[in-house]
C-alpha cells in the first residue's frame, strides 16, 4: 500500500495540523513565544479551511479513453 500522500494545502493536511496545534496549545507545554506562533498559524489554517468550505460549485473531471489504444488519462472539466 502506498504511503498516504497528504498534499500541502489539502483539507486533510490543514485540519490535521490544526488539531495538533489545538492540542499543544491546550496542553500548555510550549513556551509563550511558541504558543503565540502556534496560535497565529492555527488561526490562519482555520481561516483557510473555512474559506475552502465556502466553495459552492462541485468540480467534476472526466478521465477519457483514447480511441482504440491504451487508456489515456485526459482531464476535461465538465459543465
Amino acid at each position: 500500500m502506498a504511503a498516504k500522500k497528504t498534499q500541502k494545502g489539502s483539507m486533510e493536511g490543514s485540519l490535521k495540523r490544526l488539531e495538533e496545534i489545538v492540542e499543544s496549545l491546550e496542553e500548555g507545554k510550549v513556551s509563550l513565544d511558541e504558543a503565540v506562533k502556534l496560535y497565529e498559524e492555527g488561526i490562519q489554517l482555520s481561516k483557510d479551511c473555512a474559506e475552502k468550505l465556502k466553495a459552492t460549485e462541485l468540480k467534476i473531471k472526466k478521465l477519457a479513453k483514447s480511441v482504440g489504444g491504451d487508456f489515456e488519462i485526459a482531464e476535461t472539466d465538465e459543465e
Binding site: Q7, A35, L53, L58, K61, K62
Partner: protein, 431 residues
C-alpha cells in the same frame, strides 16, 4: 419408419434364436428373410438407417428440458463440456459447446442436479445420440446464487475479505474518484450529495459500462487506471439498483481482484441496501447505496465549520489563559522586594544625578558670565587700537590709488590723493 424399427427387432430376435438352436432353424430363417426382403422391402445400409434415425430424433426433440444428475463431467481443452445426465433408470450423453459454456455463471460438477435445455442430436460415426445443451441451470437454487457462493467462499479462503486489510478512508478527501456509468443514477446521486455536503471536493469520473458483456472487465480496468491516475484519495465503484443479473458484473472475480489490488481505498456502492455483492466484501467500505457512499466519504461542511470555529475558540482561550498566567507572574515579580530593591537604588541614583546636574549647570552659568565680561573689556581695548580710534582723535589717512601714503616722496605735483577723516573722505590735488 416405425416399420423399419419393427423389422430390425424381429431380425435380432431371430438371430438370437439361431445361436441357441439347431442349424435347420437358421436355414429356415434365412429362407424366410430372403422371401421377406424380396417381397416387401429393400435392404438399408447402416448409414441410411442411421440417417433416418438422426432425422427422426432431431425433428422430434428439437428443444427439450431434461432433469438429471451430472456425472462424468469433462471440460475439453477446446472449451466444450461433455458429461452424462442420469437418473435411477437411465442416462444420456450431453455436450455443451464452448460458445454456450462461456456464458455459464457456475461451474458444473459431478453429482450436481441440473435442468438441461437443448435438442437431441445423433452422431452417426458412433451410432450414438446425445443432448446438445444450450442452457444449464442448477436445480433448486439459481445458478447465479451458486456462482456467488462459490466465488465468495474461494475469495474468503484467499483472504480477500479480511478485515485487517481494509484501509481507513481519508477523513477529508480533496478528490474522489468514481467508476460508474456516465448516464446512471449513481453518478447523479453522488454529485448531489457531494455538492450539498462538501462541494470543495473534486469528483473524478471514469465512465464504464456497469452491466452486460464485458462490463466486469471494464470496471476492473477502470480501477487500475484510476490508480495510475492517482490523484484521488478514495474511489467509489458502483451503480444504481437492478436485478441480480444487472448487478452481476460486481460479482465477478476480475472486479474483486482489481478492488483488492487497488492502492487507493475503495468504497463499493452497488444497488440498494439489500443487495450484497462480492465487490462489497472486498471493498474497504461497503455503502448500501451510491448516495450513502457519498455521505460516508465526506463530512458535512457546516458541521466541519462548526468544528473549526470551536478550534478557534479553544486556541484563543488557551492563549489568553497562557498570557494571563504570565501577566500574573510578571505582576508578582514587579511587586516583590527583590525586584523593588534595584528600583529603589535606581531612584536614588536618579536623584543624585538630578542634583549633580543642578550643581553642574550653576557652575557653568557663573563661568559663562565671567567670560562674557572679559570679552567686553577686550573688545574696548581692541577698538582703541583700531584706525578708527586714531581718526577720532584727529588723525587722517592719505591714500594714492587706494594705497596708504606713508612718505612725502610718494606724492608729486598734480597727484590726486584721498584724505579720510573719521566721518568721510575728500579728494585733494598736490601743488
Amino acid at each position: 419408419m416405425p416399420l423399419v424399427h419393427t423389422k430390425i427387432t424381429t431380425k435380432k430376435h431371430n438371430h438370437c434364436a439361431a445361436l441357441n438352436n439347431v442349424s435347420y432353424i437358421a436355414e429356415k430363417v434365412e429362407r424366410r428373410q430372403r422371401r421377406e426382403m424380396s417381397s416387401e422391402q429393400q435392404v438399408l445400409t447402416v448409414t441410411d438407417i442411421t440417417r433416418q434415425i438422426k432425422s427422426s430424433l432431431e425433428q422430434r426433440f428439437t428443444r427439450v428440458w431434461v432433469q438429471g444428475e451430472i456425472s462424468n463431467f469433462k471440460r475439453h481443452t477446446s472449451g466444450h463440456l461433455y458429461f452424462t445426465l442420469k437418473d435411477e433408470g437411465a442416462q444420456i450423453s450431453a455436450a455443451m459447446w464452448r460458445s454456450r459454456a462461456g456464458s455459464l455463471l457456475f461451474q458444473p460438477e459431478d453429482g450436481m442436479k441440473v435442468i438441461a435445455r437443448g435438442g437431441i442430436t445423433v452422431y452417426p460415426p458412433r451410432g450414438s445420440y446425445q443432448i446438445d445443451v444450450d442452457q444449464l441451470t442448477p436445480l433448486g437454487i439459481g445458478e447465479l446464487q451458486i456462482a456467488f457462493e462459490r466465488l465468495k467462499k474461494k475469495l474468503a479462503a484467499e483472504g480477500l475479505f479480511d478485515e485487517g486489510r481494509k484501509r481507513p478512508l481519508p477523513r477529508y478527501p480533496s478528490a474522489v474518484g468514481i467508476i460508474t456509468s456516465e448516464t446512471g443514477a449513481a453518478l447523479q446521486d453522488v454529485r448531489t450529495v457531494l455538492g450539498r455536503r462538501f462541494p470543495s471536493v473534486e469528483l473524478v469520473l471514469l465512465p464504464v459500462r456497469v452491466q452486460g458483456a464485458g462490463a466486469s472487465e471494464e470496471i476492473a480496468r477502470a480501477i487500475q487506471d484510476m490508480n495510475r491516475y492517482g490523484k484521488v484519495d478514495v474511489i467509489i465503484v458502483g451503480r444504481g439498483g437492478g436485478s441480480l443479473e444487472d448487478l452481476w458484473a460486481f460479482n465477478e472475480e476480475i472486479v474483486a481482484r482489481a478492488i483488492y489490488a487497488s492502492e487507493i481505498p475503495i468504497v463499493s456502492a452497488v444497488g440498494h441496501e439489500i443487495d450484497f455483492t462480492i465487490a462489497d466484501f472486498v471493498a474497504d467500505l461497503r455503502a448500501p447505496t451510491p448516495s450513502a457512499a457519498a455521505e460516508m466519504i465526506v463530512p458535512d461542511r457546516f458541521e466541519l465549520l462548526e468544528v473549526i470555529r470551536n478550534y478557534e475558540y479553544t486556541m484563543r482561550q488557551a492563549l489568553t489563559q497562557r498570557i494571563a498566567v504570565h501577566r500574573e507572574r510578571v505582576a508578582s515579580l514587579v511587586g516583590s522586594y527583590a525586584f523593588n530593591r534595584p528600583k529603589d537604588m535606581l531612584r536614588e541614583f536618579v536623584q543624585r544625578l538630578d542634583e549633580l546636574q543642578r550643581m553642574m549647570s550653576g557652575t557653568v552659568a557663573h563661568r559663562m558670565e565671567r567670560t562674557a565680561q572679559d570679552a567686553e573689556s577686550l573688545k574696548k581695548r581692541l577698538l582703541a587700537l583700531s584706525p578708527q580710534g586714531a581718526l577720532k582723535r584727529g588723525y587722517a589717512i592719505v591714500r594714492k590709488n587706494g594705497v596708504p601714503v606713508t612718505h612725502v616722496h610718494q606724492l608729486v605735483r598734480n597727484d590726486e590723493a584721498s584724505v579720510e577723516f573719521q566721518d568721510g573722505k575728500v579728494i585733494t590735488k598736490v601743488q
